[in-house]
Symmetry: C2
Subunit: 500 residues, 2 copies
């Protein structure tokens, strides 16, 4: 149990960390500790002993944040629909066994539900495994679909960098037996379109192929049984220097130093068609069947990407590994390039904003007869994108409207509540977005101020004289212009004045 | 453990139930048992021991179902926005203690997460309690917001009637200290607008007030301590006859038979302004302060509803109680009236499709100082509405498109993959929704068939001659009309032909 002195000491520690501009994760950790201590201590009157917060690693979205989020969703959905995708939805939890054995080392991050009698359930960890389960269950062998939903990972949150325990994934996948690299190229085109649309600054899409990686491991002398675990180590190269990754391979994972050094040479390589051609000539790699297949397909992919006009943003990168177990072919990851942005004081390191790849074996893991459905897909990392845009909006001081209200129904004198109710009802029934203050006798000034605060462009004012004359006074908030409109023309007038 | 003979017997039992058209719930239960037995036994090759299903009480949404669902969401969101609502989002789980003590007898239906170290969490049971937590946490005293998200209840599912363990709620709430009954009337107007928009057939909105109920209990001689539990019994009147409810009150809950009989007389009453006036004159009820307050406000509410032109669909009904503990004033519930629908063979009993009420004390339960924020809100029961519309679509054989693709990029000869890729990329970049088959050399017939199957209205055909001439052949799928369009005019032509 914490005592009050301890709480005060902890509060002081937090204050100092903030003052010193310490690592945000560090601050978050100490704040959490403080909140927990406060919770143990209980509220002021010892009356409310609970903590008023969202669970660790989660957050609420305020109306303003939702407005930004919906912009991002719209850009993404528009793109997915442009590419002819259908949409599906699946439950937020799956049978625990559905998720078992799909995520390798990451399985420990899965949220389980409490056993309250009945089935054992887990929250979904991504949208790909539920998609594969859906295909197998419904015997679908051919679909192009998107799915936008929340997924759950008991990871260490780093909320300032957009890493949460509950977060949205926006997935687009193409399932079916098709000619090589055509759907794969479309997935990369989609990433390119979305990142361009959202104007997040310069970006690069790294691509590699699990077959090239496996071929590379083979020719470097990695034993078969260590392919996956060494692959996990390579995956850390975006966060750790090679020396650390190497020592993990040799020290923790028991790889020979020679094999590690050979890998070290390959994973430095990145480029375009030229590099593919060079590796196709590589005396060792070209002898490996898997690597040769992967490189052949990579060449084809780059040809298609050139036709799409996007090859310039794509980098074939041998250090790209991707953590998940289920990939079998092409893999890719989009990263934002560090931008010199004068508006933003402390540029946030955002890392990967999209990723995906080919997983030809996953559906077969669910099919009772093991029938395979080849799949390739992409997942857009919406939370990170959202963090960046939110920060941009803050910096630009752009005023974001959180409602779409076209007109406020107001009154100039007292005792006009009934008239306001009648008018607003007419407007609603005509499809006009209208609000009124929930007061019997609001002051006109307060009504106008409400429009200023919330960005409502028009005010429809009823007064005694207007009622007698069969008109409504329409006021344009921005210009203060006022004009009397005949009641029967009001709807048309509001529509005209608020159409963009 | 099940053996094969037992599985066969169970399969036979299921077959017979289906043949006898037994109660769908019953069938579902026996099918679940069968699946479980099969799972225990293992797959054909003993290789896949898991069950390929979604968790009990949940379902996937196919693209066709999603198309219907999005129509419903659009109607609802359009209405919420018409009334000037902002939108928020909260996490799918809350701290367990946040939900504690808010749901009365229903608390046992809350899903808990497993204790994996860290906070104790539960899946949200509705959107109202998270909303109240959000208000208290952010010290918001004034907001009109909607929230559309899934909630979770470990109830007995009745999926044919649209009752699931995971289901969407569409909530609209108005928080703030306002003049009486104005926001309450708007909530009812919203229900009226949405149900009218969705064309679900005739409906009725029942209203009552917790204060009238409590006053009624008091004058009938119910002891204070039994108000909530007797209220729960009254709530069952839509599913049970009065005699059963009475015996629950007297037998299980220890109410005197006289008190029960007095309640029995009141709860038969329903009507409009006339009934309100009559009860305001009721010698016993009019002496009760709470009841009098409630009746006064009910009168005001009906005046506003009359101004909104919707009083005809509203019934003041003394048997309406609503299960949840947190209501403090007006409560309401919309029910569809049994319709004679020739198209539908077996009309589904759908019951309540919307409900809500005033809860002035809930936010205060979260505020450290107990500060109250009065709230009133409505929740639209989207799953039931969705069930009805899905059935309507089935019956009408309306063909629902699941994509918005405007044009298929096709080729008339072989070896034109590169040309198709170039053209489709141009179209995508111009914002045209376009697809192509993922084959190197698809047959023209297959490409046209794909358009027929998926409802794509146009085909842009590249052929050698067209390429030479700098044109694309545009085919209208419905009429088979074909016309050569200059490449530079193609985007404009597609836009024109597919604009509604």
């Amino acid at each position: 149990m914490a005592d009050e002195a301890a709480v005060r000491a902890q509060a002081e520690a937090v204050r100092r960390l903030k003052q010193d501009k310490a690592d945000p994760d560090e601050i978050a950790k100490e704040v959490a500790k403080l909140l927990e201590m406060k919770a143990q201590l209980g509220g002021d009157e010892g009356k409310h002993k609970f903590v008023l917060k969202t669970p660790k690693g989660t957050r609420d979205y305020s109306p303003k944040q939702m407005a930004i989020r919906e912009r991002v969703f719209n850009a993404i959905i528009t793109c997915f629909k442009r590419h002819g995708a259908e949409v599906i939805d699946t439950p937020v939890f799956e049978l625990k066994e559905t998720l078992t054995g799909k995520y390798g080392e990451d399985s420990k991050l899965i949220y389980d539900l409490k056993d309250q009698g009945g089935e054992l359930l887990s929250l979904r960890y991504d949208l790909t495994v539920p998609f594969a389960r859906y295909l197998a269950m419904n015997k679908i062998t051919n679909i192009k679909r998107y799915h936008i939903a929340k997924v759950y990972r008991r990871d260490n949150p780093a909320m300032t960098r957009g890493r949460y325990r509950e977060f949205y994934q926006c997935d687009f996948d193409i399932a079916g037996q098709f000619d090589p690299m055509i759907p794969d190229a479309e997935c990369l085109k989609i990433v390119h379109e979305i990142l361009s649309d959202l104007q997040l600054g310069d970006f690069l899409i790294k691509v590699n192929d699990r077959r090239i990686l496996d071929g590379m491991f083979a020719v470097c002398g990695v034993p078969d049984s260590k392919f996956r675990t060494i692959c996990s180590s390579v995956d850390k190269l975006d966060k750790m220097p090679w020396e650390e990754v190497r020592s993990e391979m040799v020290g923790e994972k028991g790889l020979s130093p020679e094999a590690a050094d050979r890998i070290g040479e390959y994973v430095q390589l990145h480029g375009g068609l030229d590099l593919i051609e060079r590796l196709l000539q590589d005396p060792k790699l070209s002898q490996n069947k898997l690597a040769k297949e992967g490189l052949g397909d990579m060449k084809l992919l780059f040809e298609y990407l050139t036709l799409f006009g996007i090859a310039g943003k794509i980098s074939f990168d041998l250090s790209l590994a991707r953590g998940l177990d289920y990939y079998t072919g092409v893999i890719f990851e989009a990263v934002l390039l560090q931008q010199e942005n004068d508006h933003v004081e402390e540029p946030v390191s955002v890392g990967s904003v999209a990723g995906g790849g080919r997983y030809d074996g996953l559906v077969g893991m669910f099919d009772p007869k093991g029938r395979k459905v080849p799949c390739v897909g992409v997942s857009i990392g919406i939370e990170r994108i959202f963090s960046i845009l939110e920060q941009k909006v803050e910096a630009s001081e752009e005023k974001i409207r959180t409602t779409e209200t076209q007109v406020l129904v107001a009154s100039a004198q007292k005792k006009l509540l009934e008239e306001r109710l009648k008018l607003i009802s007419e407007l609603w029934d005509a499809g006009i977005k209208a609000e009124m203050l929930y007061k019997k006798n609001p002051k006109l000034l307060n009504q106008l101020q409400y429009c200023e605060d919330t960005g409502i462009p028009l005010v429809a004012i009823v007064g005694e004289q207007e009622l007698k004359d069969g008109v409504v006074k329409l006021r344009v908030v921005a210009t203060r212009e006022e004009v009397n409109i005949r009641r029967e023309s009001l709807v048309e007038e509001i529509r005209m004045r608020t159409s963009q």
